[in-house]
């Protein structure tokens, strides 16, 4: 059952990920990205990360992608115009990326040979209780710093996006 669920959602994630890259219209890419994020949320659940699965759906698939879709609508972004790329990029781009992926897969296989399998329910440390306890005891300082960071980001976004005052 674990394997079937993993395969279904991994295939959905990869297909949607490819779709993000190959679609020429930004809104199609955005919808595909929502598919990637939703299937990743299911994979997080399989790995026992309940809190992060919920946060993934709410923050990523909800808030961030709504922001993207709003900006695409606001700017009335059309399909991308294809232009001639440089010769080197055409020749080397895809082989280099495949080599990069192959190298990463090779190292993963070599570094974790006896890592054991992932069973759903074997790790229960990802509940909101456990994450909150770690966040407010061991990681309190980073949490406060990141709250200041997000405040600055909100202020920056408002300052950048407002209309120029005459």
């Amino acid at each position: 059952m674990d394997v079937i669920l993993f395969l279904i959602f991994a295939v959905v994630a990869v297909v949607c990920g490819i779709n993000v890259v190959v679609q020429s219209h930004p809104i199609s890419s955005a919808i595909s990205l929502i598919g990637v994020m939703a299937s990743l949320a299911v994979l997080y659940l399989l790995l026992g990360a309940e809190f992060l699965a919920a946060a993934q759906v709410i923050v990523y698939a909800g808030a961030i992608m709504v922001l993207f879709v709003f900006v695409i609508m606001l700017l009335n972004a059309g399909a991308e115009t294809r232009r001639g790329r440089s010769f080197m990029a055409q020749l080397l781009g895809v082989p280099l990326l495949i080599a990069f992926l192959g190298l990463m897969a090779f190292f993963v296989q070599r570094l974790f040979p006896g890592a054991g399998d992932v069973h759903f329910g074997a790790f229960r440390g990802g509940t909101a209780l456990a994450v909150g306890r770690a966040l407010f005891t061991q990681f309190l300082l980073p949490f406060e710093v990141v709250s200041v960071l997000i405040l600055i980001a909100i202020l920056g976004a408002v300052v950048l996006a407002r209309k120029e005052l005459e």
């Binding site: 674990d2 394997v3 993993f6 991994a10 994630a13 990869v14 990920g17 993000v20 890259v21 990205l33 990637v36 990743l40 994979l43 997080y44 790995l47 026992g48 990360a49 992060l52 946060a55 993934q56 990523y60 808030a63 961030i64 922001l67 993207f68 900006v71 606001l74 700017l75 972004a77 991308e80 115009t81 232009r83 781009g93 895809v94 990326l97 990069f100 992926l101 990463m104 897969a105 974790f112 890592a115 054991g116 399998d117 992932v118 069973h119 440390g125 990802g126 456990a130 994450v131 770690a134 990681f139 990141v146 997000i150 980001a153 909100i154 920056g156 976004a157 408002v158 950048l160 996006a161």
Partner: protein, 103 residues
């Protein structure tokens, strides 16, 4: 217990998503799509954090992943505001046309 999924499958899926993000970042010319590719890369990294957290039976990876999400939200807010400003000043979304720092 039923058969489990090998840990390396999750890591390879994360590598595939990261590579797709890199491909979008390098090959696409629309600034919004480039931005979405960055989100794709961050998601790939998040998946590997959570996989390692499962393997080590610790919650620390979840905390890292949580911080990555927060930073991604902040980055999306600022980045999209920058995109709005660029579009207001230049009325283009093509990153080849936004090259004033080249000279």
């Amino acid at each position: 217990m039923t058969a489990g999924v090998p840990l390396s499958w999750y890591l390879i899926l994360s590598a595939v998503l990261f590579t797709l993000g890199v491909a979008g970042f390098v090959f696409r010319r629309n600034i919004i799509t480039v931005f979405m590719s960055i989100e794709l890369m961050l998601n790939g990294v998040n998946l590997s954090f959570i996989t390692f957290s499962y393997q080590l039976k610790q919650v620390n990876g979840h905390i890292f992943s949580f911080f990555v999400m927060v930073v991604a939200a902040a980055e999306a807010a600022v980045g999209l505001a920058i995109i709005l400003t660029v579009f207001k000043n230049r009325s283009t979304l093509n990153i080849d046309d936004v090259s004033s720092m080249k000279n």
